[in-house]
Every structure is written in C-alpha cells, then in structure tokens.
Symmetry: C2
C-alpha cells in the first residue's frame, strides 16, 4: 500500500485512524501479546463509522436508542478499546489501554461486556458477535413496533472477519437475518484475505458476495481504506430494507512490515518495525501519546450524538407516563408486578386439578399465563414448535409484516437461535426464550456458555430430556447433557418434576437478571406430585423434602424431573416393608448449593442410606451422594451408564433398569 | 401430483420405488412413530441411485471400494432400511422392518452405524451426515493417491434435506468440500420445501443453488420424481472435478393425503389414508408384502456390483503382497508393529533429557515419531496449526494438486473438522486427528458426541487447556470442558502431565479401535516428571503413583496435566514439614475407572487426607475425593470455581490460588 498517498488524500481522516493504529501497536507491544493486524486494517472503516454514522453519545453508554456496534472479530479488541478511549467513554482511560490484557484491567484480551458499558457483547469465540447482532436487530425491530419510532430507531453495526464468516453459526445467523428482513443490520466484512494459518485461500474459496446475496442480503463492495467509499457504502446500507453486508477490501496490519501476512494477524512487538510503521503513518509522538488536536477531534466525535440523545429524551418525555414506565421496566429487565400472583394462581390450580402431563406441556401452561402479562418475552424454537410447546396461544409470528409478533421460527438453527437470544437479552427490553431438544444443547453450546459468561438471563427450553424421548433413539437421547449444563458456571439448570415445579422454575428463570436458565423438560407425561399448594417457591431453594419418612428414617431418595415420580413409587414400596423413606426433589442443584450448609444438611441429613435416581449419567451426583462432611453414607445410583437406545419410552426405562423396583432394591441392598 | 401419470410413464421404476413407499408406510404404522414423508418423497431418487449408479454388492457390505451412501436426513431411516432389505443385505430381514423402532431391533429410529454393516454412519442430528461425507470423500482421495486407482476409486453419495442445509455445520462442510475440490462427492438435496414447523419459507429463503455455487460446487436442478432426469444428473455429477449438488424437487409424502405438508414429515399412521395412498401407488399386497417380481428386481440390483467387486479383487491380487498387507492393515485399523518400540524409544529419550516444554509441543514431538511410520494418519487444525502443534515435519498439505498430502487446513471450522474426521475414520484406512483450543470443544461438540456413539477412534487434539492459556481471557479458557468430555460415554479424556505421559496417551489413542480420544494439552511449559524410564504404559491404567510418601503417608494429592507439577511442588513443601505425601497422576479417569477396585484402592488408599488439584471446575472430582467405600476421607479441592480472566498465565494461577502453597495449606488444614 502507498501509505503516503492515503495520508495525503485525506489527512484529517488519516490522523484519526492512525491514532487507533498507534494505540494498538503500543498496547500490544506493552502486553507482548494480542492481535495487532485487525485494528490496523479496519481503522479506516471504524473511523468513518464513528465519525459519520454511528449514533452514540460517549457520555451515555447505556442510552437505549444508541446504535449498537459489535466487534464480532473480538481478537481485534484494541480497535474497540481505542475507540472508547479516544471518544471519551468514562472508565476507558489511558491507564487501561496501557494495562491491556493484564489482571484487573477492563481491557481484556477479548472484549467482555461485563467489564465496561461501552462493550455491547463479549466476543472472541468466532461467529458469536455476528449472531448476537441478529438478536440485537430483532430486539430493535420488536421494540420499535411496540414503543414507536420515537422511542426506538437505531442500527446494529458489526465488524466481522473471515473467521466469523467461516464458522457454521454465521450461516445460521445470516440466513435468519435474511429471512426476517432485518434492514437495520449492517455487517462490515474485514476482507483482508488472511487467517492464522496463512492466506484464506488455504482453507476457503467461498465467494462471500454471492453467498450473502443467496441469503437475501444487499452487498456493497468497497476499498476499506478509502473514507469516501466507506461513507457512501454506509449511507446506502442504511436505506435498504434488507440487511447489508459491506465487503471492505483491507490490508491487515496496514503499513507494517507484516502487512498482508498471517504474522500480521498476531502480536506485532518488534520495536524497530513498530517505529517504521509509525513513521510511515507520520506518527511522531511517544508511546500511548495521542496528539492533542487528534484527541480533541475524536472527543468531538464522542459528543456528536449528544444532541440526538437530548432529542430522544424530549420525545420520550412526550410519551404517556405509563408508556415511559413500561419502557423503563422492560429495559431494566424487571418483571411485571402481576407475575408472582399469576404464577401462584397457576400453582394453586394445578395442585387442585393434579393433571398428568409432560413437563414440556406444563411449560406451555406456564407460558399461557406468563406471555400475556409479559409483553417483553420473545419465544421461539429451532423448528420444533409443536414438540417444545414454546408458542402460547396469544403469540403471533415475528415477521417482516408483523414486527409485533413475538414468536420466531428460528429454523433448524439451534446455535444461531441461542446466539440471537443472547443478543436480544443484551440489547435490553426483551426476555428471550427458545426451544430445542435437550440433546441439541450440543449444537447451541458455544452460545449457551457465552450467556453464562456474559451474565445474560436467556432461557433455554430443552425438552425431550432423557430416554423418555423414546423411539428416536440414542442420537436424540440426552445422557450427559444435564452434567454438561450443570458443570457450566453461572447457569441454573432446572429439571422440574411436575407442573408446579415447572411454574416455579419459570418464575426463577424470568426474574433472573444475570444468570441464564436451562429448563430440562420431559416428553412423557408425569403425575402432579406437588398436590399441596404452597405459596412459597420451593424450587428457589434448589432441593426440598417432597415426602418425608414415616417411622424411622432409613432411606433417602434423591431425584429430579421425571424420576421423582419413580422415587415416590419406590418410597411406597419401601414404606410398605416398614422402611422409612424420605424423597427429596432436587430441581436445581445450583440453587441448592447456594443455600447454607444447615439447610442442605436438613434436607439431606446424615444417617439414612442414599439413592439418587436420574435417567442420565451419574457424573456429578457424587457431590450429593456422599453428604456434606464427616461419615460417608452408603449410597447408590440408579440411572444411565452409557448411551440410550431406540424403543418406546416405557420399554427403555424397564430395560435400563430405571424403575421404582430397582430403586427400592438398591436402597434395601445398602441397608 | 398426478401419481397415475408417474406410474404409467415408468412402470418398472415406479413399482420398485413404490416398494420403498409401501414398506415405509407399513413400518411407521406398526411402530406408530417415525418419519414417513421423506422416504416417500425421495424413493425415486434412491431407486435410480441404487439401480443405475451406486457401486455396491449387497453380499459384501464391507467391500472397501464400494461407493458410500449416506442418509444425512437420518429421520428418513426407513428409506435406508427399505433399500437394505430389498437389495438383500444379510441381517436386514423383514422381521427387522416389522420391528422398526423397537427394543433390540437394528432398525432404530435413526440409522446407527454399529447396528448393521450396511449403515455407513449414524445420522439424525442434522448436518452430521453431509459433514461426515466430506471426510469419506477425503479418505477416498487420500487412499486412491496412496494405493492407486485400481484399489480405490469410488464415490460418496449423500441425501440431505433442508434441515441438514440449514444447520451451521453444513456451511463448514460445503465450504471445505468446495475448497478441496472433492469431485467424487455428490449431494442429493431433497428439496421438498417442508420442515417440522411448516413450509421452509417460515424460517428460510436461502437460495441453495446460488449458495452451493458460491462455495465452488457444481449444481444441477431436476425433478426428483423423473427417473430419466435423476439418471442424467447422476451421470453428469460423476464426471465433474468439483463436488456436485443435485437439487431434487420432490413432494414429501408423495401420493398421501399429507403430501406437501409438515404433517407429512412425521408419522403417517391413519389406516384409511395409508390404504388410499397404496391404492394410488397401485400397491395391492398386504402389509410388509412386496410382490415377488418386484423383490426379485431389487435383489438383482443388490447383485449388480458383484462383477465389479470380483474385478476389484482380481486387481488387488495383482498388487504386491506388501501393498496388499498394508492396505488390509490400514483398513482394519491396526497400527504398525513398529509403533510400540518408537513410542518406547521416545519415552526413554525424554526421561533422560527431561525437557521443559508445553504438552502441545510434546504432542508434536510424538507426532514427529508417529507420522513417518503411520502413513494412515491425516492431521489438521481449525486454523491453529502453529498453536496446536499438529503438523509434523514430514507432512505436506492435502490439496487438489497433492492428494498424498496428509495435513488439512480445515479453516475456522471446528465442527466441520470433527465431523469430517469421523467420516474418515468410518470410511476406514485413515487415522484422523485434528486440533483446536480445548475451549472450542464447544463448537465441535455434536460431532465429538457422535464419535463416541458411533465408536470411531477420532483423536481430538485440544490445546490451551486451562487458564494457562493466559491473556486471551475467559472466552478462550476452558473451565468446564474437562467435565464435559469426561461426562460423555465412551470417550477417553487424556490430560498428560509431561512428554512421557503425552507419548503414552497418543499410543493409547492410536491403538483404540472404538473409542475416541480427547487430548487435553497445555499452552505453557511443564517439567518432565517421569524421569525414570518405564517400558510399561502407565497411562493405560488411568492413574498411578508418581511419587510416594516418605515416612508415614498422611496426605494424598491427585492431579492431572499441568497441575501435577504443582502437586509435586506441594509434596516437597509438605515433606519438608515431615508430612508424608503421595502424588497420584490421573491422566485418564476413564481408564482408571476400568481398573479393578483393588488397583484403585492401591493407588488411592484409605487413610490419608485427599486434595485434588486441577485448573478446572470441581464437577466430577467427588468421585475420587471420597474414596471407594466405607469411611470417607477428609478432602479438598484446589481449582477453578467460575470463569477465568485475562492476564498472563502465571498471574492467573496466583490470583486464582492454584499454587503449590495453596495445595499444601489445604492438605494441612485437613490433617
């Protein structure tokens, strides 16, 4: 590249972009790690975006109607940190930049949404940001439809690299965005032709332009170092009714000796090469030093949106107080006051009627109560609506012609669904939930982990949660998936035993502000076991005594979900033989673990033999089988020891020995 | 559709295809579950494929040079079972068809590769089959380059539906196949415009033809019910140098009242509608009854390949005995005799030289020894070759111009990589291994689970296996991933502590015939701890005493991988205070669990306090912390309790308290 020509063509632009490049070089040099090339390559695009298009106010990072900027290529985090610092976001100080990638700094290796308000989403695992962005754009459309254009009217911008576009989830995201016609979603592709292993061509010859057009996107091709082309493309992108992909031809590590090479992707730390690059940029100040005029120009950009922000406030003030309060409530993620009483009423009704239904059906019964009073829910399923029971009767389908629709047909896109849900939750104003089979948490897993890491309360409705799924066989029968979800930090895994527990689990999931929930629900019918109505949400304690021993307490049965009924039947068998047996329902291990030890010991006292029953692998159960401390109880496990099989559910339970008789026998063998 | 016109246009063809449709209707009716519509819609395509193109010999399902047929849309399993039954595969009896989806039958809900030799791969989780197929096609190219066209020269055919093509993994698979120019891969897309939720248009408007062309595929569009068009398309597809997608416009549940509806996707069990459909087909025999002439015609098709099979045998006989033996060895998945001695020699050398290297580097050292003597390995990485250390010096890149290359640049496609690896292993003749970061087992997870279920010995090389990854931060730091892999049935998870254990782990992974392996390897350097050479593979027992207590045994430290060195340092601290301390290295829990209880108790005896150290979540460790039976030992855990952070590795170990001092303190607090 002829850097001199670039500089002289647009000197003001050049200097602003050079600030990003220089800060990146300095920060990576100081950390001796990181990714230099991407911020250096995309600095021009980012500068034009922030200077002329992005609607933002650096003094108000949480302004609800700001445009969202998502750095899907999260390894280029110094691009974002530079922009936040230069435009004057509070907290993103020069010291933070100097401490890039160090303990305690908010300038983590990859952008973490929970470390600074100016970071919209955590990125780094490739493909997630662009897929979150689809959720952001859905949230914007839904809120605009609900609250009007005066309250909500903004764009979602994404910078994505080849890595993001090679990941499978990008296919799901792009397809979904194209189908839903998300015209306010604009993706800037950093088309630099380089990956870690070498030229993109080593692994891919995808024609991205044709690919995006095949998905119904508008595509614009530009020189990513020409500010006029960038500006024109962004202007055009904003007018379209379809999502837009701007293919920005760029040079990774622009102006550095490593330009256009895979070495340029990583940490450029050579002092001489750094000096040479800065010289080419015309950058003469010392490390981390941005000339005052350039910093001032950037700070003016940071204030560019103040007026629009003020106008928005005025417009909001013109809404009725009720509308304003409702907008504030949903943006704050608060549930409506009526939710608790609605849930209680349902619990009471169920305790009286005692239906025998699958908990996926129970979940639908809860949604029929919840969705009418929580207009902020957006539900959906990855092409299993009828099986996941995720669509309540009041919901219509979200579509180009019906932005008030609150149900999304995600298609066979579990991963894209989960990532989009995270995006909606991050955007604010929406409570997303989405369904698939429990076994296909596998497909959604990277996004489910990010929900936990990012502290967003997405609700994953996972039905067909055991061999109770039956004939579809082992590919569809979760065995290790409860363990997988439970092993994930900051994730509440609910496996309710009946409709009452399902209602309680939903209440906890919907009131969570920073923890995602996995609802593990049965395909097969289960009896109502909570036949005595209690106002209190017993699931909130994670585990509780469902039925205590009559007579001397000799055995303690622990179970979750569909196996609680089996434990109760085993209790009948044991009590009939005079063996006092307590049954503990454990719908949420994580919440039980959070209780104090006194409560845990009250529920699981020392003394009786212990048998756990769960139609899943034992992995993790030892925590509860072995007691809190001191003498270990005799214990056993009734569950799965390997993959399932294809047969009717009741046959499978019998063949795999997960029966009341087996549980009773196991308990007796330990006495 | 005008069924009568179809019948009269090609009556012989029609009757053969009708046999598939009738058997499907009968089997689903008997099971009262399953998927009728897809086999009914694709019966014409499958009939022409089997009758005129697929190179197979029903009497020899394991003939190495057969064409592979992969039903990626696995829910349409009755299509495959019908074909296997009709063409006369041993074992696929009418009784099996009658017992569709029942306990003990080989006709599971979805095709399971381990239940019948005629089933090439397990499908059902959508997108897996088409992605396996890429691996099958790679294996064919590689083996043809190695053994010559006389030994290996066949095609891979796939039937895929909209579900497969919507899944993200299909994007990775299609992109990889396009890039690698896999001309002998032919995908038949069942373009029926229906998914479970309704019309495809509900969720997707992807132009699949343009999409495949953007990936460098040849695309042919046909009427999927016209045998002449099908035949012509297959003929053309076989001549191309690029992979081919044939878009087959079909009607789901053809001829049934549910034709062209989402209802038609599922189980069609209404007796009257079934009768009406059969009448339209001109099918007058009773349930499960195929007229003798039609069965005979199908059986002739089953014998069609016998001649080609015989010719192949003759050609093979013309190869040198050494070549024949080598071909047989690799197809049988046997390792070369020299492997064991090579591994032993490396172990000896390492025990003497005692390098301090990262175990990912150790893994490379092993590969440098293994790859030259095991020409059947095909390695690769999802764009992290330099980080995963997966490319040994002797390997060249597999490409259109170099089919003898044994290294694949998979691109940023972890999921597609894992699925392709499974395909290579299933094809036979290839030992696939592939690398990414341990954290991104998340992305590869659905295929890793299938490796376990299908019993294929894929080797997943997962580096950067803890917070030891350092600055990249929590998105890249595995915390729960060891637990996830360990919770998965039939998966050996190796976390070696040094180069010697890494060599032992590789030996076990490479000699495995039916269990996949996960190698969990460090980014950071670790010392050699196995300084005394032992010929025996100690890792084979899963856990063993690395250093015993001096004096009275009071403490027992358990650790894996990089934390074994920390446990050893803690032992030094404790021994210095006169506390006799044993250190147990536990590189593979699964193999330790397989030992008899006597061995496990010998390694982990009752008495001393127990402390486990692992830079991961505790989940699963209670199994070992609590002893085999009887009195529970006092125990503690030093490791992670939540997500990691971005900082240099040594800072993170310090900040998260995973240090020798912390381990020693924990042990002392328990005494």
């Amino acid at each position: 590249m002829d850097i001199a020509a670039l500089r002289s063509a647009h000197p003001d632009h050049w200097n602003k972009a050079a600030a990003i490049r220089a800060l990146t070089l300095d920060a990576v040099h100081a950390a001796n790690s990181g990714h230099s090339g991407m911020p250096m390559g995309m600095a021009d695009v980012a500068t034009v975006l922030y200077e002329k298009h992005l609607k933002f106010d650096a003094s108000a990072p949480n302004w609800p109607d700001r445009d969202r900027f998502i750095l899907s290529a999260g390894h280029g985090s110094m691009l974002l940190y530079s922009l936040l610092y230069l435009t004057g976001y509070e907290g993103m100080t020069l010291d933070q930049i100097k401490n890039f990638r160090q303990w305690g700094a908010i300038t983590a290796g990859h952008p973490e949404n929970f470390l600074h308000d100016g970071i919209e989403t955590t990125t780094g695992p490739l493909g997630q940001g662009i897929s979150n962005a689809v959720g952001f754009a859905i949230a914007e459309e839904a809120l605009r439809a609900r609250f009007g254009k005066k309250a909500v009217d903004h764009h979602t911008y994404v910078i994505a690299g080849d890595g993001c576009l090679m990941e499978g989830v990008s296919h799901e995201a792009i397809g979904l965005a194209g189908r839903l016609g998300l015209g306010k979603l604009i993706v800037l592709w950093d088309n630099n032709n380089i990956t870690i292993d070498g030229k993109v061509d080593l692994a891919s010859r995808t024609d991205q332009v044709k690919r995006f057009r095949a998905e119904g996107w508008q595509v614009i091709e530009i020189d990513g170092h020409d500010p006029e082309e960038i500006d024109a493309a962004l202007t055009k992108a904003k007018t379209g009714r379809r999502p837009t992909m701007i293919a920005c031809k760029t040079h990774i590590a622009l102006g550095h000796a490593a330009q256009d090479t895979s070495k340029g992707h990583g940490a450029l730390t050579d002092a001489d090469q750094m000096a040479a690059a800065k010289e080419a940029y015309g950058w003469t100040t010392g490390p981390f030093e941005v000339p005052a005029d350039i910093k001032k120009a950037w700070e003016a950009i940071g204030k560019r949106g103040a007026e629009a922000h003020a106008e928005w406030k005025t417009r909001m003030g013109e809404l009725s107080e009720r509308r304003q309060a409702e907008f504030t409530r949903v943006m704050d993620g608060e549930v409506p006051k009526s939710l608790a009483s609605r849930i209680r009423a349902l619990k009471k009704q169920i305790s009286e009627e005692c239906p025998k239904v699958a908990t996926r059906k129970s979940s639908e019964m809860v949604l029929e109560v919840v969705n009418p009073v929580m207009q902020e829910t957006i539900g959906g399923s990855a092409d299993l609506s009828g099986s996941n029971n995720t669509k309540s009767g009041d919901m219509t389908v979200f579509d180009e012609g019906n932005r008030k629709g609150r149900y999304i047909h995600y298609g066979i896109r579990e991963h894209g669904m989960a990532a989009a849900m995270n995006g909606m939750a991050l955007h604010g104003g929406i409570r997303p939930y989405g369904g698939t089979f429990m076994c296909f948490t596998d497909y959604a897993r990277p996004a489910m982990r990010l929900a936990a890491l990012m502290k967003v309360p997405s609700v994953f409705v996972m039905t067909h949660d055991s061999i109770g799924l039956g004939e579809d066989g082992p590919t569809h029968q979760p065995i290790e998936h409860l363990a997988i979800s439970r092993a994930t930090p900051n994730t509440n895994v609910f496996r309710p035993c009946d409709t009452v527990e399902t209602a309680e689990a939903w209440e906890l999931a919907l009131t969570s502000k920073s923890t995602p929930s996995v609802l593990s629900l049965t395909r097969q019918g289960v009896p109502t076991l909570r036949t005595e109505h209690k106002q209190k949400n017993l699931t909130a304690q994670g585990a509780y005594v469902l039925a205590d021993a009559e007579g001397k307490r000799q055995a303690l049965l622990m179970a979750t979900g569909s196996e609680v009924a089996i434990a109760m039947a085993a209790r009948d068998l044991l009590q009939a033989e005079g063996i006092g047996t307590r049954v503990v329902s454990m719908p949420c291990w994580e919440l039980f673990e959070e209780q104090d030890e006194a409560y845990r010991r009250k529920v699981l006292p020392a003394g009786p033999v212990r048998v756990a029953v769960e139609a899943a692998i034992r992995f993790g159960w030892d925590r509860w089988l072995y007691g809190e401390r001191g003498k270990r109880e005799k214990s056993g496990f009734v569950g799965m020891h390997g993959f399932g099989a294809s047969a009717p559910a009741e046959v499978l339970y019998e063949q795999f020995g997960i029966t009341a008789e087996a549980v009773a026998e196991k308990a007796k063998s330990l006495l």
